[in-house]
């Protein structure tokens, strides 16, 4: 059995979450939350609304500002395309985003370009970060919408969301944040950070897969155009029968994360420090992106002289990855690392190791030892002496 070190890809469900979901599935809450003519539906609806409260509570939002989706990818689509469709009156609009974003943001932006709206892409700074200066210096003056992720899923770099949010508010730009990697891991206050739309996921924070949410600021945005039509659920913005047990699981995961956030963060920091300390005896590697402004749970390591696929294969006791799980199926080099200026051989030699709540310090030290052995073996195969 391999030790799991790919928490940025997904996380195992917390025992509390499984327990809660099981209870919801076992009890008389199987009714359709939209069927309010009988107790089964009312019971399910109560769970959905209670969960909505809990999700809103984590980010300091109002419950009516939370819209259930199937996950962060759908939330990103709905935030960008849904907002665009709602605002589009036949005249092209100007949107902006960064090269660091998840494909679901980039592809959504591409789709609004097909309607002749314009999208400009911001290049990150040398540390792979979108800070306020980077953002403002490249922002198109006509932009009415900006999308920026909170924590980058490949490097762990944390963007300056609060500063950018304030700037956007001052300049009347709608600000969307993809918080798939940050929600439940670091504090988020949508009011303090001046966020208008925010995408959330459950499975990155020990919740179930297949459920997520979109925060929609009721004052600045109000509505987006539904991309899925039919039953008119979620105030007509997202049709489809709500999955009560998954929503309850998401709320439970968020509740646990809120309680444990400080301890989790401290633990992950310790894991990362122990890993890097052990790895310091090895030469010829670097961390991609900022070390200071990064979430400690994600490490992007570059071995420019090696092949990441072989490194991952040689780390046979550990489940690690090349980069984004969503693009790992393709052989295309990471667009994130490319935008940070990494050369092809550096991208080819990059692996991502991500720690989580269930990672032990022993795991991290063993992983570093195995990585050293893997690097040594592969360098020997190349004829490179240590």
């Amino acid at each position: 059995m391999k030790t799991y070190l790919d928490f940025a890809s997904t996380t195992p469900m917390a025992p509390e979450v499984i327990e809660e979901m099981h209870a919801v599935m076992s009890e008389d809450s199987f009714g359709n939350p939209s069927s309010l003519d009988h107790q089964f539906g009312i019971s399910a609806n109560n769970i959905v609304e209670q969960s909505r409260n809990e999700v809103a509570n984590l980010i300091n939002a109002n419950p009516e500002e939370i819209l259930w989706t199937s996950g962060a990818t759908e939330s990103n689509n709905l935030a960008i395309v849904g907002f665009h469709q709602f605002q589009y009156k036949g005249h092209p609009l100007r949107f902006t985003t960064s090269h660091l974003e998840h494909k679901s943001v980039i592809e959504s932006m591409r789709s609004i370009e097909e309607l002749e709206s314009k999208v400009s892409f911001i290049q990150p700074n040398k540390d792979g970060q979108i800070d306020l200066e980077t953002f403002t210096s490249q922002l198109n003056p006509d932009a009415i919408f900006a999308s920026c992720m909170h924590i980058n899923n490949e490097t762990g770099v944390v963007n300056e969301i609060k500063e950018i949010g304030k700037y956007c508010k001052k300049n009347e730009i709608i600000f969307h944040v993809d918080a798939a990697q940050s929600i439940g891991k670091i504090p988020i206050d949508v009011k303090e950070m001046c966020i208008d739309l925010m995408s959330m996921s459950a499975h990155k924070v020990y919740g179930p897969k297949g459920v997520g949410a979109l925060y929609i600021n009721k004052d600045s945005v109000g509505r987006v155009k539904s991309l899925i039509v039919g039953g008119g659920q979620e105030r007509g913005m997202r049709s489809g029968t709500l999955p009560t047990h998954q929503i309850a699981g998401m709320a439970s995961a968020y509740r646990v994360s809120k309680q444990r956030m400080h301890d989790d963060l401290e633990h992950i920091q310790q894991c990362r420090d122990a890993f890097l300390k052990k790895l310091s005896s090895l030469n010829g590697w670097k961390i991609n992106g900022s070390v200071e402004d990064a979430f400690p749970g994600i490490l992007s390591l570059c071995f420019h002289d090696l092949y990441s696929e072989s490194l991952i294969y040689a780390m046979e006791g550990f489940a690690i990855s090349r980069g984004s799980a969503c693009s790992s199926d393709h052989d295309e080099p990471s667009h994130v690392l490319k935008s940070m200026g990494l050369l092809d051989h550096e991208i080819n030699g990059t692996i991502r190791i991500s720690f989580g709540r269930t990672t032990s310090l022993h795991d991290t030290e063993s992983a570093a030892s195995e990585l050293i052995a893997a690097v040594t073996h592969l360098r020997n195969l190349k004829g490179d002496s240590q």
């Binding site: 002289d305 090696l306 092949y307 072989s310 040689a314 092809d344 051989h345 020997n380 190349k382 004829g383």
Partner: protein, 138 residues
């Protein structure tokens, strides 16, 4: 030998790249940066001795390792019959990842060709030496 064992086997990895009595062939992929270098020579009995350096995916490493293992102490004629595709089958190479197999195959063909050319040259030199010997006799 399975893929894992082949991946970790370093018996025939070239320890010292300075090979004065043999030749080196190299195959490089510009698109993905993989490369394979073969260091070869014939022993006094005309049998092959091949070592390698490799950089690339685990499939490339495993196929190279297996093929090199089967290339030791062979005659040049035997070398020609080496079937690289069989190693791809052993490691169950995914259908969309045939590149490492072709890559190793091309490099081994170059090595075989180099052996042949070396043999021709060696025979040619032998003939010259013999003709010189004959001239000295007559």
């Amino acid at each position: 030998m399975n893929q894992r064992d082949a991946f970790y086997d370093n018996t025939h990895v070239m320890k010292d790249s300075r090979m004065s009595d043999g030749f080196t062939v190299e195959q490089t992929s510009k698109s993905n940066g993989m490369w394979l270098k073969l260091f070869s020579r014939l022993d006094p009995e005309g049998r092959t001795e091949v070592h390698y350096h490799v950089h690339g995916c685990p499939h490339l490493i495993a196929i190279t390792s297996m093929a090199i293992r089967d290339t030791q102490k062979k005659s040049i004629q035997e070398l020609e019959t080496l079937d690289i595709k069989k190693y791809a089958k052993i490691i169950d190479l995914p259908k969309n990842k045939k590149r490492p197999s072709f890559f190793v195959g091309r490099c081994f063909k170059r090595m075989y060709k180099a052996f042949q050319e070396g043999l021709i040259l060696w025979n040619f030199q032998l003939q010259i030496m013999r003709s010189k010997d004959l001239k000295q006799i007559f």
